[in-house]
């Protein structure tokens, strides 16, 4: 028997060791590089999805506010709790959006709408939410605040309050951004036994919410020209007494939040002898919650043209506010 073969095979076996070492080295390097790349890709995916989602939630929340508003106007039915309703609808739309992300990408996404509520600016509604996006070991959580500005809608959002209050009193016509009440406002006031409601036959007010640029508000009383332009455009003014937008969706004329008000303008008349009548401010006319919610104001003639008198009924409080002469 020849024993040389055993020594050679033993040493040949030892040759396998460097080959195995090299293989381990290559696999390890490849794995490390791959893991690094995968981490970067996951991180980018999570970050991009988070930013995308934040932007989309902003857009769809604006849209939901618009949809709810038009729905209230069409039906004339107030919503019981506008804040909760908007929160639920935005949450539902957000969940639909998240499912689309999940279908296309392997991500864990969760978005909770915390609240939809007022801010100190009555023309801004604030949405708060928490978004969590995760993939493998990468997780990102973000608390977002989105401001829904009523001024940024184009065309502007309509005011739901007149449509709710005058629902069963006749049809409201909307022409060129203005509501023409015909007899509906008189019917509404007479149904509440308000005196001198007849002055509001064919009254008009703004259909669209646009913020008044004329500030301070006392400047409305400078030669009345500013007041005339404000009335023609149907601008809305900040008010502690007037209801905020979310409460207007619920059919409230007044609320504890910082809100706004607009003028309801009686039709011009050839009759110079004007008495007192319900104050020509929307939250006064539509306040049916308390006994003296709709209080009177004295006539203020702000323009006379071709034998017709253009007037408002205002109490001293509102006259002061707009820089108009007090009684």
């Amino acid at each position: 028997m020849d024993h040389q073969g055993y020594v050679l095979s033993l040493i040949s076996f030892l040759l396998i060791i460097p080959a195995v070492l090299m293989m381990i080295l290559i696999i390890d390097a490849g794995y490390s590089l791959g893991k690094e790349e995968s981490l970067i890709v996951s991180s980018n995916q999570v970050s991009n999805t988070m930013n995308d989602l934040q932007e989309n939630i902003g857009t769809l929340s604006n849209l939901e506010v618009q949809k709810v508003t038009y729905q209230v106007i069409e039906t004339g039915e107030p919503v019981p709790n506008s804040r909760e309703l908007l929160k639920e609808r935005i949450q539902e739309e957000t969940n639909n959006l998240i499912n689309k992300y999940k279908d296309n990408q392997d991500l864990d996404i969760n978005c909770s709408i915390i609240s939809v509520d007022n801010t100190s600016d009555p023309f801004i509604i604030e949405l708060r939410a928490i978004i969590i996006v995760g993939k493998d070991e990468t997780v990102c959580e973000r608390k977002i605040t989105h401001q829904i500005s009523l001024e940024e809608y184009d065309p502007p959002l309509p005011d739901p309050l007149p449509f709710i209050k005058c629902k069963n009193q006749g049809n409201l016509k909307i022409i060129d951004g203005k509501i023409i009440y015909d007899s509906s406002l008189v019917s509404y006031l007479e149904s509440r036994n308000i005196e001198n409601a007849y002055f509001y036959e064919n009254a008009t007010s703004s259909a669209l919410i646009r913020k008044c640029p004329y500030s301070p508000y006392e400047s409305h009383g400078n030669t009345y020209l500013t007041l005339i332009n404000c009335l023609e455009n149907g601008f809305y003014h900040e008010s502690n007494d007037g209801a905020c937008f979310l409460c207007r969706l619920e059919g409230k004329a007044t609320c504890s939040h910082r809100g706004f008000e607009t003028f309801i303008i009686p039709a011009p008349t050839t009759n110079y002898n004007l008495l007192s009548a319900p104050c020509s401010i929307d939250h006064v006319i539509f306040d049916d919650t308390v006994l003296n919610g709709t209080y009177s104001g004295m006539a203020l003639i702000y323009r006379e043209f071709a034998g017709r008198y253009y007037f408002l009924f205002l109490d001293n409080g509102h006259r002061n506010k707009y820089g108009l002469p007090c009684m």
């Binding site: 040759l15 970067i40 934040q54 184009d154």
Partner: protein, 326 residues
């Protein structure tokens, strides 16, 4: 008696050991070369990753805090820079950079980049090249790197929000025609003055488009006001003037190809009050070009005249070029 010990030291075994040793030596050398190669690839890949991630951080994040550019250079110890512009919800605008942040980065580059976005030992330069040749190149940090052997370059296309201008009025004829929305009613309503009838661009009727702007004392102190136009017929059929509800006027000022400064017009109207709502009335003739635009813009005082271009009203595309090297 047979003795097997001698077999170990036979010539064949010696030869075999030599061959095996050579093979092991070559393997070891190859392993060493491979390790060296992997190390270099890893290192360059690592620098590549660092450069890309640095560019990502600067382009896609607004920095921390997101208004870091308002801080004094000497207090910049706890901030992380980012160049992304943010919207009103403090959400990063996709691929849009803010010129204020770029300028702040230029001012404090040695403090903000090494050790925060890039390793301390790494050198870098950032230059933004405009696609529109009429605009100037933005040099955030320019270093002469002609003597360096290996430079890693990241090139991204971004938009740069060039200015902190406040557009007060934007009249886009094409948009008005599409949306059939001519805006609010001005003070010229026929009772105390002539009537400003709205134009009808579908039926080719002339008319007025009027917009109100609210000027505050702070605006008067910090801004200059300019009118820009694009595509208008520069004759007497297209004209503008300004007034207030309590001071109705009827004037005619024509447009020009250059921006028109209206500081004096505004001062005259507002007088001592220094604050108020001004109506800006523009008369458009029939047959107006659909691509016409008019802007009234509040521009920070001290802006140089070569910056007065309509291109600066909207974000402009630039190449963001980041170079890093050791």
């Amino acid at each position: 008696m047979k003795e097997n010990g001698g077999m170990v030291f036979s010539m064949e075994i010696m030869l075999a050991i030599v061959v095996i040793t050579v093979i092991i030596a070559i393997s070891a050398d190859a392993l060493d070369i491979s390790s060296g190669r992997f190390y270099r690839i890893s290192e360059s890949h690592s620098v590549d990753i660092i450069a890309n991630e640095a560019a990502n951080i600067l382009i896609t994040t607004p920095g921390s805090p997101c208004n870091w550019e308002e801080y004094d250079v000497d207090t910049l110890n706890d901030i992380n820079p980012g160049l992304s512009a943010i919207d009103k919800d403090k959400c990063s605008m996709n691929n849009v950079l803010d010129i204020k942040k770029i300028e702040k980065l230029r001012e404090a580059y040695p403090k903000l980049i090494p050790g925060r976005i890039l390793p301390l030992e790494m050198h870098s330069s950032i230059i933004l090249y405009p696609l529109n040749q009429d605009l100037a190149t933005i040099k955030v940090n320019e270093v002469n790197n002609s003597n360096i052997k290996e430079v890693y370059v990241v090139n991204r296309t971004v938009s740069v929000k060039m200015t902190t201008w406040k557009p007060l009025v934007t009249i886009n004829i094409k948009k008005i025609i599409e949306e059939d929305n001519y805006g609010e009613k001005c003070t010229h309503n026929g009772f105390f003055s002539d009537v400003h009838y709205k134009p009808d661009f579908h039926l080719n009727h002339e008319g007025w488009i009027c917009r109100q702007i609210h000027i505050t004392p702070s605006d008067m102190d910090n801004y200059d006001f300019y009118i820009f136009q694009e595509g208008l017929i520069l004759d007497e059929t297209t004209f503008w003037f300004m007034d207030q509800p309590d001071n109705i006027k009827s004037e005619k000022h024509t447009f020009s190809s250059a921006p028109i400064c209206i500081n004096e017009n505004i001062k005259k109207i507002l007088d001592e009050k220094g604050e108020g709502v001004i109506w800006f009335h523009i008369h458009f003739p029939a047959g107006i070009n659909e691509s016409s635009k008019v802007y009234v813009v509040a521009i920070p005082r001290g802006t140089s005249s070569d910056m007065l271009k309509t291109e600066y009203l909207t974000p402009q595309p630039y190449y963001f070029v980041l170079k890093v090297w050791y």
